[in-house]
Assembly symmetry: C4
């Protein structure tokens, strides 16, 4: 994949954020990384998703964090994307959102418990919740690294979510499923106390999903 294809993919993923109801107005952003070339592309700050074209995306040097000639400014969340790419070598796509149900858990500082087979499938663990951190320096990135488990998503206390994957497209699936399972679990909690799936059982679903599912 060259950088033009990466721009196409990251543009498409950003445009999917409002379509999949993960963002309202401008409250989210997606990026993708070309690790070989050491370049990422990310959404520009505060612009509408539905008018976004690949050329609008901002290209950034992974090592220096410097913007490569761009007429638009990058998302203010760029430092957090950079931190995750620099510290998680397997990651090629990152998404940040304030999606409603996941952020409801974040607002009360609670993880989404591993109580559904869908959570075992995709996340293989609870979706952890990082205590509140401010937006200064690498505080957000450091907290994510400290609290993450094998799940490709975390909740940020009083804030929202970060999700990731091998590509921006994979990160989108993780972000969409984070909101989807958060919704089901929140609804379930209005009916009673959902039981956790024991680790041995969770492994059966995670294994099937990661080893036998798909094409």
């Amino acid at each position: 994949m060259d950088l033009a294809e990466l721009r196409e993919e990251v543009c498409r993923v950003n445009r999917m954020l409002p379509v999949t109801r993960l963002v309202t107005m401008h409250s989210g952003n997606a990026s993708g990384l070309d690790r070989e070339r050491g370049r990422l592309v990310i959404k520009p700050s505060g612009v509408d998703y539905d008018a976004l074209v690949p050329a609008d995306l901002v290209e950034v040097d992974l090592e220096t964090g410097e913007v490569i000639e761009s007429r638009l400014r990058p998302s203010v969340d760029l430092p957090h994307h950079l931190y995750l790419y620099r510290n998680m070598p397997e990651v090629g796509g990152v998404i940040h959102t304030h999606s409603n149900y996941a952020t409801a858990f974040a607002a009360v500082g609670k993880p989404v418990p591993l109580c559904l087979t869908a959570i075992a499938d995709q996340f293989g663990a609870e979706i952890p919740c990082v205590p509140y951190v401010d937006n200064i320096g690498d505080h957000i990135g450091e907290a994510i690294l400290q609290y993450r488990n094998r799940s490709p998503a975390v909740l940020l206390g009083s804030h929202g979510t970060f999700a990731w994957g091998e590509s921006a497209t994979d990160a989108l699936k993780a972000a969409v499923m984070t909101e989807d399972v958060a919704k089901t679990v929140l609804l379930a909690m209005q009916l009673g106390q959902p039981a956790d799936i024991p680790p041995d059982e969770a492994e059966k679903w995670y294994d099937r999903y990661h080893n036998r599912y798909g094409q």
Copy 2:
């Protein structure tokens, strides 16, 4: 109906799963059976619904469970579809989803009670909830057979729903109505305790719906 028509119908029903908001990303599948020919067709595993065409569906022999020449792998839930077709002779369509409101009941292991005339109409009974079972062998199918009542849908504890009907189209209606009544009942439970409809009263609605309703 020949197999080409069956492919058309099952493709259309699979494409309706995200449209009717029963699935998010790839979390559901529909199949249909030609009982005379002993063949079913089912969604391929982990593919997008909106690009699905009839030729993508995977044809499977009902008796042997073997895939009939296909470039795509079938849904990992194929064994459960097979089990239901083999053990419920009146069934010609099966759908599995993790739809949010129905799965909320499943997460706490509770049935959707028979407390609405719409439930009496369509289901004629509460929608039962099977205790959690794993995805090994026929565990899911056996549990469904053990717990089902005359309702064309069951909830799977900590997991989701299975719904069925004479055709894939009928199964879709059962799956959509399962989610719809689960939503109304969950909302009602936030306001108080909905009263069950007594069996004699439920019979009036079930009878009208199954004997005088429609064309």
Copy 3:
């Protein structure tokens, strides 16, 4: 307005039922009356809304309740529509739905209280809830007449809603607003106890809406 125009309007209103999310699958119906000619037109039973054309609607004699030459059978709720038209001389349109939030109140047998200015505007009173009645004879119609207040909508216990107006278009507005205010009030009840608007205050909104609002 002649009968062809009435068919156009009632067809359009029926097609709006799923668009406005008042019905799922086939769970609702709209009718309209030409009181001068003594004829109503109503949705046929169990057919899809999005394929409905004016010629599909079933014409019925208001006095005798007999269907006027039609290739389709009328909604099984026809007797309730007839009863309302025969007993509410000001009404020219009737809608029945199982819309989720309004039916949640119906499931627990509670009215939607007059606690929002939007309820004072449109309904001028709480939206009352009729205790459960069966579908035999005129039980539904009689119960509605007994429990209604000046609000153009009632809830039917364990069942759903009926709404009406001078025309099918007006009935649609009443049905949509019933669901909308039921949603807001149910949500409010998760936050605390909404205070009723006193009758004198409610009158200010009802008066403005009915006498100075609109064109």
Copy 4:
């Protein structure tokens, strides 16, 4: 910007009200001000949004409140828009809605607490709730002025919301974000008690959003 452009913008913003799910049927209105010319344009009363064209908007003199030759009557909420423009010199756009989640807070007379970074970003404070006032004279406008903080939105007890900004487009963003954060906070309150963000922390987000965010 001339008045024709203002009509275009205010028309577009009004048409976005149902698209962004802030209004149901006709329950909301947007206006925009040309302060130099002393003229505002506002939605006509009780008309459909999707058929609205710029020429339908009603032009009003800011000082006298008189309608400038128009074939349609202005929104009945015109006096409240006028009051806000006359008393908030920085405001160029105003929106009134009964959006569901925000109005749920209004129904119980509670503010939306400053418990999310998204609230700190956009509003910089809790979204306050004005006690119930009637629709007579300037009661609504006076109450808003009395209770507002630096947030560009307030809740009206038992009623709905007013939001504003430098333009109608900015007011739309404030109204959409009011509903969005009200939804997340209401959901969070079903899971526990969201902690407020301390003022010093809130300032970091408000500052970033207002001084470094966007293009």
